[in-house]
Amino acid sequence: MSSGLPIMEKEPSSTTLVAALAIAGFLSGIIIIGVYLATFDTIAENKARELREAVFRVLPNVTRMQKLRYDGSELVVLPDNAKDDEETIYGGYNDAGEFVGYAIVNAGPGFQDTVRVIYGYRPAERKVVGMWILESRETPGLGDKIYKDAAFVANFDNLGVDPEIVAVKKGTKSRANEIDAITGATISSKAVVRIMNEAHKKWDARLPVTAPALQQAAE
């Protein structure tokens, strides 16, 4: 509109500029805090439900669970709302409140990013009875078969842990501690096995055959 003439518009003072940005930031902060508070409970609930479903998935016949933590010498029962850390595992119990097995979470590097695995373990039989992937960014179509391929997941339904779990070429599984690796996703399959072996090594000596009894949680 005024291409030829240099019109000197009055520069707003720095105070105005700072104030404008400060107000924008302040209002934005209030909105974000509001949304955070409004969604906090639902998000926490989702996470807890996801974990509970995972525990029930890897331990057959389990309908109740409680958090257990290794305090250096033995397993102690934690309240449900306690914060999880590396020493936390989950005890699974059936309808009658009898102990079924432990669910152990461990994470480690996969093909692309960290893979978080949960698996069910029965100390009495020294067997893994189920495995599920909590988190992974493995390649879609290849590495993601570690949780999308039902046949691979079924490998872990009745798996020995002695001397350790071994991934073998698909179709050559012959011993109780072997699983069929996924064709085209050997690294991801081996990552799952390595993560589980690491966790087993760490937890093996710590887990009594019978876990602390189920404490009646307020339903």
């Binding site: 509109m1 520069e11 500029l17 940005l21 209002l27 955070y36 989702n46 290849l142």
Partner: protein, 218 residues
């Protein structure tokens, strides 16, 4: 205002985003989410809807507040506004559809850096009345959503033999895995751009032909 807004029709402003100025196929903006999260139709749609909300909300706010935003800090203020909407979307998705939020992962916060959104604020919303700005944002965001869906469905159909997780071809279909990997994104986008340009050229040629014929008659 340099340009009179009287001549501008809100409907036209909306429709231009769908085809003539489609943000993806014509302006080639927003390529990062375009290539990254279109490995399935549902992810593509979720991303498209998130972008829709952010773009329309930001355009509305920027256009309504434009009188009070000092020119020197306008880009920073736009970014604050966009980032606020993105954070809202992030938390709401996490609370309502955690599975999809997990799939989209880091790409939701990255909506802030989608040049399509900042571009519309600077080029349009900050210069035109609220009504036009919102219509423009709706058009652009819908154009983006449709493009995301086009890419996402093609890649999911070819790469997994499914659409929205429903198997289309039965068990004998061998999935074309590369289509859901990054190269498949580039290939599909390239082919769609080719198609778009070809259709555009054909249309131009047709219009020219008709004009010629009219002249011949007269």
């Amino acid at each position: 205002m340099a340009i009179s807004s009287k001549k501008m029709n809100p409907y036209d402003e909306m429709m231009k985003g769908l085809w003539r100025d489609n943000p993806v196929f014509v302006q080639v903006l927003g390529m990062c989410p375009m290539l990254a999260v279109t490995n399935s139709a549902i992810n593509a749609i979720a991303m498209g809807l998130a972008t829709f909300f952010v773009l329309v909300g930001s355009s509305f706010l920027v256009s309504s507040l434009k009188r009070w935003i000092p020119k020197q800090v306008r880009i920073s203020v736009y970014i604050v506004i966009i980032a606020t909407f993105v954070t809202v979307v992030d938390y709401v998705l996490l609370a309502t559809v955690p599975a999809i939020h997990k799939e989209l992962g880091a790409f939701i916060p990255l909506i802030v850096a989608n040049c399509l959104i900042l571009g519309r604020q600077e080029a349009f919303a900050s210069r035109y009345p609220v009504k036009l700005a919102v219509m423009d944002a709706i058009g652009m965001a819908t154009g983006f959503l449709l493009a995301m869906f086009a890419l996402g469905s093609v890649r999911e159909i070819l790469g997994e033999g499914k659409l929205f997780g429903v198997s289309l071809f039965g068990d004998n279909f061998e999935p074309w895995v590369i289509m859901i990997l990054p190269p498949g994104g580039f290939i599909t986008l390239g082919l769609l751009l080719l198609l778009f340009n070809w259709v555009g050229e054909r249309k131009q040629a047709f219009i020219a032909q008709v004009a010629e014929a009219e002249r011949g008659k007269a």
